[in-house]
């Protein structure tokens, strides 16, 4: 098998936080005040949030300036707490009152829906998670010019969250029947299996008899 090559590259220097800081600086230089917020967790990852209209430019900057050549994923998140909780209500009882305030995660946000994506570098060995708020028109520019692989991810986000991608050539449904109404991954879309009868798995989180039901019971046992 001599004609076939294999590499035995030594482990490259693992990403320092300096690399992540540099990525943030590069993005800031490229995008200006379209870069709203950033978060670098030491030794972990970096989050950036950009304005919705800069989403496409941010993708190009990530690819060409920061040098993240590898497209990882793109998806969306619905920050509204589910009105159905974790689906463990007794369907025969009236619904419980829930705190419905929207709290966004890392790097904050203003809207209920956020688009987030991730790209990595195969040579520098680090990645960036990028987020953007989605306005009320639920339309975002497509990322296909930056990363071709975003095509299917955007189709998935379109049918699951109802986000439109301006410039996407083919936003057909991927999983759902073409006439399907509603967007299943939105929090206000009920999980019908949990609506028709109580979830048997609820038993799992009940405290064992004779034990206090709070976190202080750290006995290291397997739950």
């Amino acid at each position: 098998m001599s004609q076939l090559s294999s590499t035995d590259t030594p482990i490259a220097a693992l990403p320092g936080d300096a690399l992540r800081e540099r990525a943030v600086d590069q993005l800031r230089a490229e995008l200006g005040d379209a870069l709203i917020d950033t978060l670098v967790k030491p030794g972990d990852d970096v989050w950036v949030r950009v304005r919705a209209d800069a989403w496409h430019d941010a993708g190009i900057a990530l690819r060409d300036v920061v040098g993240l050549d590898y497209f990882c994923f793109l998806s969306a998140i619905d920050w509204m707490p589910s009105p159905f909780g974790r689906g463990e209500d007794d369907p025969t009882q009236p619904q419980a009152e829930r705190d419905m305030t929207i709290r966004q995660g890392y790097t904050g946000g203003e809207t209920r829906f956020q688009l987030f994506a991730r790209a990595c570098s195969t040579t520098l060995h680090f990645g960036v998670t990028i987020k953007a708020d989605i306005g009320d028109d639920m339309t975002m520019p497509t990322w296909i010019p930056c990363y071709t692989g975003a095509n299917w991810h955007e189709r998935e986000a379109h049918e699951m969250f109802g986000i439109n991608f301006a410039g996407h050539p083919d936003l057909r449904n991927m999983y759902l029947p073409s006439g399907f109404e509603g967007h299943p991954m939105r929090k206000d879309f009920p999980l019908l299996a949990r609506m028709v009868k109580p979830w048997p798995g609820i038993v799992d989180v009940e405290p064992l008899p004779g034990e206090p039901a709070d976190d202080s019971d750290a006995d290291g046992g397997e739950s």
Binding site: L4, S5, S6, T7, D8, T9, A12, L14, D44, D45, W47, D69, Y70, F71, C72, F73, S75, I77, D78, P81, S82, R86, E88, R103, G105, Y106, F116, R118, T122, H125, G127, T129, Y147, T148, G149, N151, W152, M160, N173, M174, Y175, L176, P184, M185, K187, L191, G201, D204, V205, P207, L208, A213, D214, D215, S216, D217, A218, G220, E222, S223
Partner: protein, 390 residues
């Protein structure tokens, strides 16, 4: 946009020409061939709609979603420990490997780390599930190309690995063995010796496949130069795992990231191939299976003593935060983006599965190839339907 190989460019021109021909009335009549959802070549229910001109594919579009189970939605109504039994079923041939990144993400949010012995055993089981997964691929590859014998060898030898996984975890296909903070149990008695002998058997199996399939001239002529993915296209589409490494990208998450697993304790080789064709993809997988058996043996040599479970609360509440952990699964990069709101269950889990990206390149790749090459390319990309549809 991309650099195309000569062959790819020719195929592209041919398909353009075929397109033009199809539009001319009364000349040739194209045919639409539905490969799947029920078809021997799509292990699962993938449907590929091909527009044919003779036996040449003019246009192809995969249509997934026949197995969508909505795991991302389901995770939102489960507790953290319950999620592992769901994600087990994403890539059902290498189930244990699906649990690990999720558990690691939860551990990262909780800021705990599994004891060294648990990390070792996790890595060993991870590599075993890689072997179980890829050895079946090696056999299945033969069937897709018309050689029926390798698949029986693959099933025979995969059985040894499944027995190992079963005796350690209690489950052959869906171990559900990983816990936040460690593992459910320690290894059973005699397991280490048994594993060593099985790894030797598996290396013999790899040699057999190497002789029977990879050394075969027909096999080589069927796979070499077929379905060439250039490096930059592979990266653009987010291909990962052996598919990416076969295009000459030296990227392996086992080596290239800091993660609470035992891969940094052993020295192993990351195999790449410069060609990017179907043969390269198969070859890289064969070498990886061999390498995985060596990794398992080395890990067994350095297995530390100690507990397999860290101190974790009985009722697991994960602090608020977001975490992304991905590992190099048998099919490629599999990662979980876990958002927690300090509740019993995750608020949102984005599952990044390898086959979803790997198969999204298919429309680009299938233009201008022949119908038999469709099967070769699909087989060499190696997808698992549960991994596409989740």
């Amino acid at each position: 946009m991309t650099m195309l190989g000569d062959r790819q460019r020719l195929a592209y021109i041919a398909s353009q020409a075929a397109d033009a021909r199809l539009n001319v009335e009364l000349e040739t009549e194209g045919m639409t061939l539905n490969i799947g959802p029920q078809h021997p070549a799509t292990h699962g229910t993938l449907r590929i709609i091909c527009r044919l001109d003779g036996e040449q594919v003019v246009w192809a579009e995969p249509s997934a979603g026949y197995m969508h189970r909505g795991y991302e939605k389901l995770t939102e109504v489960r507790t953290f420990p319950q999620v592992t039994s769901l994600v087990n079923r994403i890539d059902w041939l290498g189930s244990f490997a699906n649990e690990v990144p999720f558990i690691l993400a939860a551990e990262k949010l909780m800021d705990i780390e599994a004891p060294p012995r648990a990390q070792h055993i996790r890595t060993i089981l991870f590599e075993l599930s890689r072997i179980a997964n890829v050895s079946l691929f090696l056999g299945d590859l033969g069937v897709q190309l018309g050689a029926i014998t390798p698949v029986f060898m693959a099933f025979r030898d995969r059985e040894y690995v499944l027995n190992l996984i079963e005796s350690a975890t209690g489950g052959r296909f869906h171990p559900n063995f990983d816990r936040i903070g460690g593992l459910k149990d320690d290894l059973p008695k005699g397991w280490i010796e048994e594993t060593r002998s099985v790894m030797r058997k598996l290396r013999t199996f790899c040699d057999e496949i190497d002789d029977l399939l990879f050394g075969n001239e027909i096999f080589q002529s069927r796979t070499r130069g077929i379905g060439v993915i250039p490096k930059d296209v592979a990266l653009q589409y987010g291909l990962s795992g052996p598919n990416l490494r076969a295009s000459g990208v030296d990227y392996d998450l086992r080596r290239d990231q800091k993660i609470a697993m035992a891969w940094d304790k052993v020295d192993f080789k990351v195999w790449t191939h410069p060609d990017g064709d179907s043969f390269a993809r198969c070859w890289v997988r064969l070498q990886e299976t061999r390498e995985a058996t060596l990794i398992v043996e080395k890990l067994l040599d350095t297995l530390p003593a100690g507990p397999v479970m860290a101190k974790v609360p009985r009722i697991i509440k994960v602090p608020e935060g977001e975490a992304w952990v991905s590992t190099e699964n048998p099919l490629g990069e599999m990662g979980y983006y876990v958002v927690s709101k300090g509740d019993l269950g995750p608020f949102r889990v984005k599952i990044r599965s390898a086959s979803f990206n790997n198969i999204s390149i298919v429309p680009w790749l299938l233009r201008g190839v022949y119908v038999p090459d469709v099967i070769t390319i699909l087989a060499s990309l190696y997808f698992i339907l549960g991994d596409i549809d989740r």
